[in-house]
Amino acid sequence: MWQIIQTASPQLIKAGLKYTIPIAVIAFAIGLAIALVTALIRLSQKRGGFLIIKTLFRFYVWVFRSTPLLVQLFIVYFGLPYLKIQGLSPHGIQLDPVVAGILTFSLNTGAYCSETIRASILSINQGQWEAAYSIGMTRTMALFRIILPQAIRISLPPLANSFISLVKDTSLAASITIVEMFEVSQQIAAQNYQPLVMYMLVAVYYAVFCTLLTWLQGYLEKVTSRYIVAK
């Protein structure tokens, strides 16, 4: 068994470094940006034509939270090539599998994280807004200088949850032909007839990465909680 672990590990780690980790990190970074924009738009008090934009973003969150991630991956990678629109995409939209993966993962995690961020902003006492307005701040300034710095601290644990979920969900990318860590473990298991060892091994590598993220979360929580001092 040690033999199997020794020969399979380099291939798994390589796939992890080449696909799993970059896809997870890039998709989460983009997802966070989407989430922040979505949360801010949904919390905006603007009226009029802006309501249409708000509805669009609400629809986006609804779609991505109400459908399975695997189905979303299939639609983007296998489905879009059949989206033939006159003048716009006459030959359908054929995405590179990694691009399709990152796109789908970003949009999916962005939908979930937008709710996290929205909730964390709403959890900040109304008095903080009023104190900011009282010293003459605009809504935008109050948001970025007073509210968000506090909201970030609150949203860290649930955001870390989303990130960890995403790391594990990248295994679904195997189904759209990306040779990420789980796909590699399947291929090796098919050759050496050791599925138990192989899948346990790949599970360990996912766990190692997620543990690193948990540590990172702990560190960030400490940094952002500096101001909470026990009397």
């Binding site: 009023e130 307005y133 009282s134 003459g136 101001y227």
Partner: protein
């Protein structure tokens, strides 16, 4: 000079301020008294545009605003430059040190340079008796210290008026005293203030003018001495209730 006329404010279909008209003289302290739920906070918050009355006029140094007309955000920001609010619950910014709580407005809103703002913040902290707390976080302060920081934060903006809504009602009497002394000092320096309080002894000492509000109406609007020397039975009842002088009675 700050004036309001015919200020009317409703929450839903419940009208809580019924056309108030009064003035808040410059360099004086106006104290607003009245029973709970009478509309004191709503009046004060309307003056800082934290509430939006549906009609009436707001007049600051001759510049008139009609509440029944749309008012732009820019105008509201401009108005708020003249006024500062001190809240019952302090509302310090918990993620900023005491010093940064005070310099936040001067540096980022007034765009004063950092060194000047910090020097002044230190002076203000000394004034409220907290010179040694500059680098602490609000979570390390007592309620009385927090409120004194909040007062320093408002002074740092050099507002023409400071509004204080029950600044000491969350505090023990001992801590309350420290805050009241600071306010008396500021009043002596002729800072224009409007204070809502339930502390009649303090009101009597600090007020130039008293406004007694009940059920959204102004029942009394006049100088301190006239209020405490009144023959009006309703006001006498209020004073006796607030000073517990009936406690031993019956």
């Amino acid at each position: 000079m700050l004036k309001v006329s015919q200020l009317t404010k409703s929450f839903g279909d419940q009208e809580v301020l019924h056309g108030l008209t009064t003035t808040f003289p410059e360099h004086q302290t106006t104290v607003i008294l009245g029973p709970s739920g009478s509309g004191k906070s709503t009046l004060l918050r309307s003056l800082n545009f934290l509430e939006r009355p549906e009609s009436g006029h707001y007049n600051f140094d001759g510049k008139d605003l009609d509440w029944s007309q749309p008012i732009s955000n820019a105008t509201i920001l401009q108005i708020r430059r003249h006024t500062e609010m001190v809240f019952q619950g302090y509302n310090l910014f918990p993620h900023l040190s005491v010093l940064k709580n005070i310099t936040e407005g001067p540096i980022h809103v007034l765009r004063h340079d950092k060194a000047t703002a910090q020097t002044e913040a230190q002076q203000l902290l000394a004034k409220v008796g907290l010179a040694d707390k500059a680098d602490e976080y609000p979570s390390q302060l007592s309620g009385g210290q927090s409120q004194r920081v909040a007062i320093a934060r408002s002074l740092a903006m050099h507002p023409e008026y400071i509004f204080l809504d029950e600044p000491t009602s969350a505090l023990d009497p001992e801590l309350e005293l420290g805050v009241l002394k600071v306010l008396l000092q500021i009043a002596k320096e002729k800072q224009s203030m409007i204070i809502v309080t339930h502390n009649l002894a303090f009101a009597r000492q600090v007020a130039d003018k008293i406004l007694f509000v009940e059920n959204g109406h102004i029942l009394f609007d006049g100088p301190n001495q006239d209020f405490f020397g009144t023959q009006n039975q309703r006001i006498l009842d209020f004073i006796s209730a607030m000073t517990f002088s009936d406690l031993a009675g019956d």
